[in-house]
Amino acid sequence: MAKRPLESALGSRKEGGEKKHVVIVEPNEEDRNEDEEDRSDDDDSDSDPESASPAHNERPTKKQRKQLSAQEVQIARETAELFKSNIFKLQIDELIKEMKIKDSHIQKIEKVLHRLHHLISQVPASETLSLSQAEQLFNHRKVAIPFPNPKPTKANYTFAYSPPEDVSLVGSFGLKTGISQSHGSSPSIDIALTMPKSLFQPKDFLNYRALYKRAFYLAYLVEHLIPLSKKHHLPIKISYQFLNDDVLCPTLKLESIKTDNEEDLHFINTKFSINILVGFPFGVFDQKKLLPDKNCIRVQRTMEDDGGEGHLPPTPIYNASVLSLTAYDYYLKYLYTTKKSTEEFKHACVLGRLWLQQRGFGSSFTKGGFGHFEFAMLMAALLNGGGLNGNKILLHGFSSYQLFKGTIKYLATIDLSSGYLSFSSLVGESITSKYNPEGFNVPTVFDKNVKLNILWKMTNSSYSLLQSSAIETMELLNDVVRDRFDPILLQKSNVDYLQYDVLMSLTVPDSIYASFSPLEKISFITFENYFKNKLYVVLKNALKDRVTNISIFNERLSNQFPINKLKPLTSSSPQTFKIGLRLNPEEAEKLVTKGPNNEDEKAALKFKAFWGSRASLRRFKDGTIQYCVVWQPKENESIVLSIARYVLDLHIEKEISHNLGHEAASFSSKLPTPLLPATSNQVVTSLVSFNNLKNSFEELQKVISNIPVGIKHLLPASSGLRYTSVLQPVPFATSNPDFWNDLVLQLESSSKWPDEISALENTKTAFLLKISESLNKETAYKAFITKDDSITFNDHICLLNILTPEGYGFRIRALSERDEYLYLRAVANADKQKALAQDIYLQFNRKYLGVVKHTRTITSMAHHFPYYSGTVRLFKRWLDSQLMLTHFPEELLELIAIKPFVDPAPYTTPNSIENGFLQVLNYLSSWNWKENALILDLIRGTPTHLEDDYKVANLSDKLSIQAYRVIELNFTKIRQNDPSAIKTQFFIASKDDPSGILWSNEGNLPIATRLTVLARAAMLLIKEHALSESTIDLIFTPSLNDYDFVIYTKPSNLVVSSGVLPPNSFKNLVGTETSFPEDLTSKYDLNDAFFHHLNAKFGNILIFSTQKFSALASEGSNVICGLFIPVSLAKKKFKVTLGMDIKPLDGSKDEVVVNKSSIFSQISLLGGDLVRTIKEKK
């Protein structure tokens, strides 16, 4: 909130606007400036042909051209140095242009401000009044005096109004750093009136006295402004508003009213509202007495409160509120001077403001207490120093980007809570700002001159959120490989369910309010501040390292209220607080909370006092005896949540945990529970069942490598072996569609491999036969050979199926060094069918090469991100419930699901399944795959240190700029040939697959579109109806109405044999499978077979969709839905190559049309006893 005298601010606007301070002037830039000046006179004609500057139209002479390019070279050079890159600077320029407030609006507002200034000067002075006189002055129905709570009862001082010492335009409008706002929120203009000094006594800062006087002043002003505004044709609606949600600081909010009278001046079109702030004169109170550690509200103390000491607690919020009221005028001058001395300050402010806004930060208490004013003040302070020795962090000559980045870096790297920054706002003398590492454990930027902590509205919780936002942004700013402009400035990231890993809501029972004692009131002022702090302290102490951030916010109360009320209406329903947690993935799910050693008695006492009866002594493996608390994992409840419930009950109020809601928990209940012993005491991130499978695989690997047939490697290639299968691997669960785990067997190289594809396949089969024989003879493994048709046109492929004694199934495909060579030769020889042959090569690559690499990468990612496995499984489960899973290769989905883990910007890496899932959906709902490629950098983790990491990054296997460019070029090429994405929809590239189409080559457009639509619908549902059990159920319910027909198939009883615990049943009653059936095919899902036959027979004219996991379908009854491809429905000329079931058209010579009824009867014949009913869409 900076300020400048209103009149001069208005008067000097023009010259300020014209001053041009570009160091390097580009010729057409100048032209544009002239354009702009012209334009500022006429209204809002945005369509000025500004680009049609002469430089573009006429061909410059040779000399001119040379000059021009020399200048351009200079710009190109400088921007690369002063800004991150050219493109970044150009984008910033565009953005700032876009954010500019319309000139026509500014002019309108200026008129309004002039008139308002005139109105204010017309308000007459009042007499000196006593409290009762003051109260009687107003008609209570019309105007109330907005006294802060508690209201004054008797006052031995007087109230009065006399014209303000000073009226100034303050805030961003005055500084010209205002930006246009999003729809719905109205930007406001702040005007500060300074009360005359004569109204105060030196002791008025005590016990709300100055605030009472100010409240009267406000009410008196309103009383007179109403008639005056009518008289002077400025139709306005006036209401009270708490500035920044500070209940000590009511202000007037003026909104325009639309009238028909032509003389009236209304500004409703500008959407601006005007705030009238009333401040105290600078230095009217002794600032030392208002330091944060002083008490300025004296209350009666009871004996209990006393506690032996004679001091009242400090009142930091009150003190800061009073002090900042004296400094409106002062800080405007300070910021204005800074702006004058630093050319790009203004633009950096705009960037900072936008950055904060996108992340939901603002100056008010509810928004974290760090808004654009605080940002600007911090930046100004850093221009005068800020380092440990007072060294300058920012320089006056910096570009807007450098100023912005420097401030973000400061926020990211310097801890303003454990230490603090002190600066002086004294204009004219350069006093260096200095960072002191010893602080007060509250976020502090201290102004030595005003004795005010600029960050007084911040809490430790909001500070840590700000700090982590700054760290994330810093990483993005340091990214040299890709353009990160979007997540830094353009994307909004304040959606709570995407921002936090765990989001809980706590409804407060009435009894809690009793704990809000008068002493608490003077230090915290409001119940919300008090309760949030209390929750924070308790949770922080309980969760310690398990969380990286705890944010507590209350549902926004209105801070605006009519002028005949004392405060906003409070709703009758109990208040709800939301608690957002960001977890530390390494600690969050640990079962033991460790405390102090046995010997440390003092700490032990403290520990026991905090944890109550659950604290116990334990002896650990290394011999230490420590206090600790042990937690029992519960199904569908994370450890963190269990802890939160326990400590809230213990320290806030008994049984308050019943009011603690965590709806997103029902997400994890969507994941099927495996039918395994001891799964109920498994934490959500447990990979035990997967590791059992892995062990079985490693055992097999050993056995097979001992068979002397020339084997190089046996490599895993299945979703179960990379922790991503929907159902957890359960022994003997032969009905699980993922029961068979693919493996790739690399055979040793030899020159004897046949030089022809079918002979090669036969030779490989001979190897498999040999292995099968020796496994069957010499081991407990059972092996048999099956045919494989996964690669079109190559029907000689055989697979070796192996059942292990542990109860798992593996399926081996053999690979020789010659295969790839032959497929590529086929491509080279294919002539006209080249594209087709290429597709075949890709099929081969996927099944034999790509999947091996993919499995390796995903396995290491799943180890590194503990919540990835759960997230991707839930994501697949969701797709399956929407009948979409069978349409995509699982590898493709795994790559999409990993996006928020390796590249979460503008959010953070998800550390819970629900957060991961929502971030995946959020990404899918906004991914415009026609225009953007998904390029993944699949390395373990993101760099945690900032610039020092640059060198390490060079050495690591991160994607290099070159690799990134190549991928981008690939994408451009593909889109050039296929601009409407008919052949390739999703382009997903990584180091494993720079081509970007390996997994998405066989997609189809309607299915890809449907995926986006479904994700959008889900996100919209959550946005409108919040996360609740019913919303989540709805997200997992398919909409069958969208299909042309639905085949309901016979329910299959495959739940147990798929290794899934049937819903509403008990494990001990169900019994698990312990052996393989005689005939494996008897346990296969016939719905799946039906689905495959349908696709083979009618796949060219119909898109079929089904649920892959019949066992998870509701009541075990699956459906297969069909949708006619629109092209196939049109009338056609008869041809024998039509390839679809047709019937002749009556009365037409050679036209035919698809024969739907015959298709339906063939489908029902094919399905036979499997079909219950077929429902056609009417």
């Binding site: 390019s69 351009e72 070279v73 050079r77 050219n86 150009l90 984008q91 565009e94 953005l95 876009e98 954010m99 353009l490 909004k492 020159s751 046949p754 030089d755 022809e756 594809i757 079918s758 002979a759 036969n762 030779t763 089969t765 099968s772 048999f784 050979i785 046109f793 497929y823 086929a826 294919a830 069918q833 087709l836 042959a837 005939d1079 095919t1081 077979a1089 039906f1090 036959h1093 027979k1097 796949g1099 008869f1134 024998v1136 190559t1137 390839g1139 679809m1140 047709i1142 019937k1143 002749p1144 009556d1146 010579k1149 035919v1152 024969n1155 015959s1158 009867s1161 063939q1162 029902s1164 014949l1165 094919l1166 006893d1169 499997l1170």
Partner: protein
């Protein structure tokens, strides 16, 4: 009035048991250039699903008793996801191997088509007349497609499991076939080594690769590797910062590069602006 003929094809309406919907099969005499008048085959289009020799036989017994069928050739594309057939053997080798699939030209037939060849001209005539009669009267007959359902699916699943003994035999046979074909090819190749061409060169055949395609492929590769090597060598010798013109050129290139990039960026941002990207809300 339902037409009975379309573009020279007769239309044969059939229905399936338990269903009222009509299905239409289109047929005509199958003639190839060589056997214009001696043909004894009928070409069918739009055959119902799961049409096998047995099904066709059963149907013919029903409508044209005595027309003995010799062979039923179905299109192998019918259950193929693509519309054309790629012969991978042809594409990967020039050996004279019999494509097992392609007996009777099944790969050239479009989807849902089939050819029925009769044992003799008389049988053909019998069947063709009977079918034509049914067609012109628009007489709906029943197509003997049995209930398939779960039994069928299960048997398909079982069929995927191969008998190891049988498999071993087929594989052994195919290996023998392949070896023979290869031996022939090698012999041919050896003959070529005897030939001296115009320039006085002979072809050299190594011991490893046994087919012509293999050798030629290798030669191509070898040639390009040599060229690359030579280029690399040349490059190593050159100094690119010796003459002043080289330095100047380098600077100029750098500048141009920078400028080009700058312009590209400008263009990119212009495009973004057009797409209204700079609206943060």
């Amino acid at each position: 009035m339902v037409s009975t003929e379309i573009k020279g094809f007769h239309i044969l309406p059939v229905k399936f048991s338990g269903s009222s919907a009509d299905h239409y099969i289109f047929f005509r005499k199958h003639e190839t250039r060589e056997q214009k008048n001696t043909s004894r085959a009928i070409f069918f289009f739009n055959l119902p699903i799961c049409t096998t020799g047995a099904v066709v036989k059963k149907y013919l017994q029903q409508v044209a008793l005595g027309a003995t069928m010799e062979l039923f050739t179905a299109s192998i594309l019918t259950e193929c996801p693509e519309d054309v057939w790629l012969d991978m053997t042809r594409l990967t080798s020039d050996l004279e191997l019999n494509g097992l699939k392609d007996e009777g030209g099944g790969s050239k037939l479009p989807r849902n088509c089939g050819i029925v060849t009769f044992i003799d001209k008389a049988a053909f005539q019998l069947a063709f007349t009977a079918l034509k009669a049914l067609s012109s009267l628009a007489n709906v007959t029943e197509w003997p497609l049995n209930d398939l359902g779960s039994k069928f699916f299960r048997s398909c699943l079982k069929k995927q499991i191969l008998d190891p003994v049988e498999l071993a035999q087929t594989i052994a046979q195919s290996v023998v076939d392949f070896d023979r074909a290869e031996a022939e090819s090698i012999e041919q190749l050896q003959n070529q080594t005897q030939l001296v061409d115009e320039d006085g060169f002979t072809m050299v055949v190594g011991t490893h690769r046994k087919t012509k395609a293999g050798i030629l492929g290798k030669q191509k590769l070898a040639a390009s590797v040599e060229v690359e090597k030579a280029k690399d060598k040349l490059k190593k010798k050159e100094k690119d910062d010796f003459y002043r013109f080289q330095l100047r050129q380098k600077k100029k290139d750098e500048m141009n590069d920078l400028l080009m990039k700058f312009r590209q960026d400008q263009e990119k941002v212009r495009l973004m602006k057009e797409k209204k990207r700079f609206r943060p809300y």
